[in-house]
């Protein structure tokens, strides 16, 4: 188990890797990668405890990134854990590389499912959770969705079905960064009130600050104690978290920083490492 301070440091180091990889690729999605990384780091390091050895173990806990465009965050964790090389991480989106622009299961099975067409990953996660019940395995399935993604009809079909099957081995995390491509979620297609909707849909609903490791830990632990119901964690996050000029800026959804912007971003992130020790 890592301390929260250690997790914070790892996440900030990975923020640096994410910016470097997207900058080298000259395309990609920094905003939603930076908002998601703290939660993904918590899950991989302290909860599902992924290692090279257990990466394809049939009993492993799973993590499905339904918002597939955030995959630089996932690749940065994979590289840190030795599942891919650092060179592969930095060859993001390069012809022939396993680090495809969006998760490709056939190239890299550690992603658990190909995603990138929004709205699909949660249903696949439910399928994996159902199989776990059928096979009497006690693995847990974590699935992260985006708030823009949550507008998809298939998400609401999935939200109806997981409680029906009493999937207490499923935990969904909403990366609620309030922003998508055409603007803020509240303007594009409002989701609120989310909590009340999900309670009405029979989910165990939790609400946290998605950048606070103590709150992430508490929510994940609570979700494991609930029987017969799937859990849904509404994680309030900041799009572009850690790089001041990207934070909460719709424009930083899907573009790479240029050389100068990259330098600025890296300076800021390195400063964060110094402050937080």
């Amino acid at each position: 188990m890592y301390t929260h301070k250690e997790l914070q440091r790892i996440a900030n180091e990975l923020r640096i890797d994410i910016i470097k990889a997207i900058s080298r690729a000259k395309s990609g999605h920094p905003g939603g990668s930076l908002s998601a990384i703290d939660i993904i780091v918590y899950l991989f390091f302290n909860e599902i405890k992924r290692t090279k050895e257990n990466a394809l173990d049939p009993d492993r806990d799973r993590f499905v990134l339904s918002k597939g465009h955030g995959v630089p965050a996932l690749y940065s964790v994979f590289a840190r854990l030795g599942l891919i090389t650092n060179e592969e991480l930095m060859n993001l989106r390069v012809l022939g590389s396993r680090t495809q622009g969006h998760p490709s299961y056939t190239d890299l099975p550690f992603v658990e499912s190909s995603t990138g067409s929004l709205g699909q990953g949660l249903s696949v996660a439910i399928g994996i959770a159902l199989a776990g019940k059928l096979d009497k395995k006690d693995y847990r399935v974590y699935c992260m969705i985006g708030d823009g993604e949550m507008q998809e009809g298939q998400i609401w079909e999935a939200l109806l079905s997981a409680p029906k099957f009493n999937l207490d081995n499923l935990c969904v995390i909403l990366d609620y960064n309030k922003s998508q491509i055409d603007g803020y979620v509240k303007d594009v297609m409002n989701l609120e009130p989310i909590k009340e909707k999900l309670i009405a849909f029979n989910w165990n609903v939790l609400e946290i600050d998605g950048h606070n490791f103590a709150e992430i830990e508490k929510a994940i632990n609570q979700s494991k104690t609930i029987k017969q119901k799937p859990s849904f964690i509404i994680a309030h996050t900041v799009k572009g978290k850690g790089v001041s000029f990207m934070e909460d800026k719709v424009d930083w959804h899907g573009k790479a920083p240029n050389e100068k912007e990259t330098e600025l971003a890296l300076q800021e992130l390195k400063k964060l490492l110094d402050i937080n020790g």
């Binding site: 000259k26 012809l95 495809q100 622009g101 969006h102 990138g116 823009g148 507008q151 055409d182």
Partner: protein, 308 residues
């Protein structure tokens, strides 16, 4: 290098909005990419931002069309064609005047990779009764096609590129729905090309000309209903027949040409397209080279086939 056909679409639809009050435009959180935002800025009351809800957008477009509007429903080709049964029943079966605008066609989008590439969309849309399927090859053809589309009767699928394309036509170009356009003379071989591969085919014809090979290039902007006459005539007059498209070789232009020829003038056809694979990430240029879509690869393929 000219404009992308998605930009030409956005500019044209924003102009046409003034002339035709029946035009409505819908988008699913990609208006800055499909360029429908140009219409949105000018006509906010007739633009509907749906968020990431392609199926709902298509259904609402159908309802609007059944009530007298001409609906332009815009997203990436993969996501919109992916909502197939909604298109099939609410749009095609209803014969609703919906224009499905699918941008980011083919591997030409580059780095984003497979899930963002429309690679099977022509095939899907072509097999829906009542549907017309069009893919313009440059800015001017896009402009003329979009103008035409406002008064067309029945649903249409219009496939557009992310990447910029060479200018092929000038302001005198007359768009004729359902008609192929011959772009270069020649009897040694013919290539039927569509969309982004038209300019590659034209450049290939120039490379081949220097080697004494005369390639006839035919631009097929309307893949359905297809111009049977020009296909049969060219097949008769040219020895070798090629098709070229940034799409799976199954179900697209190559299949459409094969269907026409097998029933009317059986001949061997060499189809150039994605060999039934999903595509991948990479720069557009590297991908075009890898899959043999660039002018040089096309020229090499045609020359070597002639020698056989």
């Amino acid at each position: 290098m000219g404009k992308s056909t998605r930009l030409a679409f956005g500019e044209t639809i924003a102009q046409l909005g003034e002339l035709y009050p029946q035009i409505v435009v819908l988008d699913a959180d990609l208006s800055k990419s499909t360029m429908s935002n140009l219409f949105a800025k000018k006509f906010p009351d007739r633009f509907f931002e749906m968020g990431i809800q392609e199926a709902n957008m298509i259904g609402i477009s159908a309802g609007l069309a059944l009530s007298g509007k001409v609906s332009y429903a815009c997203s990436f080709a993969c996501f919109i064609a992916g909502r197939y049964d909604t298109i099939r029943v609410s749009v095609a079966y209803n014969k609703a005047n919906v224009r499905i605008i699918g941008t980011h066609a083919g591997i030409g989008i580059g780095e984003d990779g497979t899930t963002q590439m429309g690679l099977e969309d022509i095939s899907l849309m072509r097999s829906l009764p009542n549907f017309s399927v069009c893919q313009p090859c440059d800015e001017i053809e896009t402009r003329e096609l979009i103008k035409y589309s406002v008064t067309h009767n029945g649903p249409m699928y219009i496939r557009l590129t992310r990447q910029n394309l060479d200018d092929i036509f000038d302001d005198n170009y007359k768009f004729e729905f359902g008609k192929g356009v011959q772009l270069s003379d020649g009897n040694d071989a013919v290539i039927f090309a569509t969309g982004s591969l038209v300019s590659e085919a034209l450049k290939a014809s120039k490379i081949l000309k220097q080697k004494g090979i005369n390639l006839r290039v035919i631009n097929i902007h309307t893949i359905k209903p297809i111009d049977k006459e020009i296909i049969i005539k060219s097949a008769r007059e040219c020895g070798l027949i090629f098709t070229a498209e940034d799409h799976n070789i199954i179900g697209g232009l190559g299949s459409a040409v094969a269907e026409v020829l097998s029933e009317n003038y059986p001949a061997k056809i060499i189809r150039i397209g994605l060999p039934d694979v999903f595509g991948e990430s990479g720069t557009p240029e590297a991908l075009y080279k890898k899959y043999g879509f660039d002018a040089e690869s096309l020229a090499v393929k045609i020359e070597s086939s002639l020698k056989k």
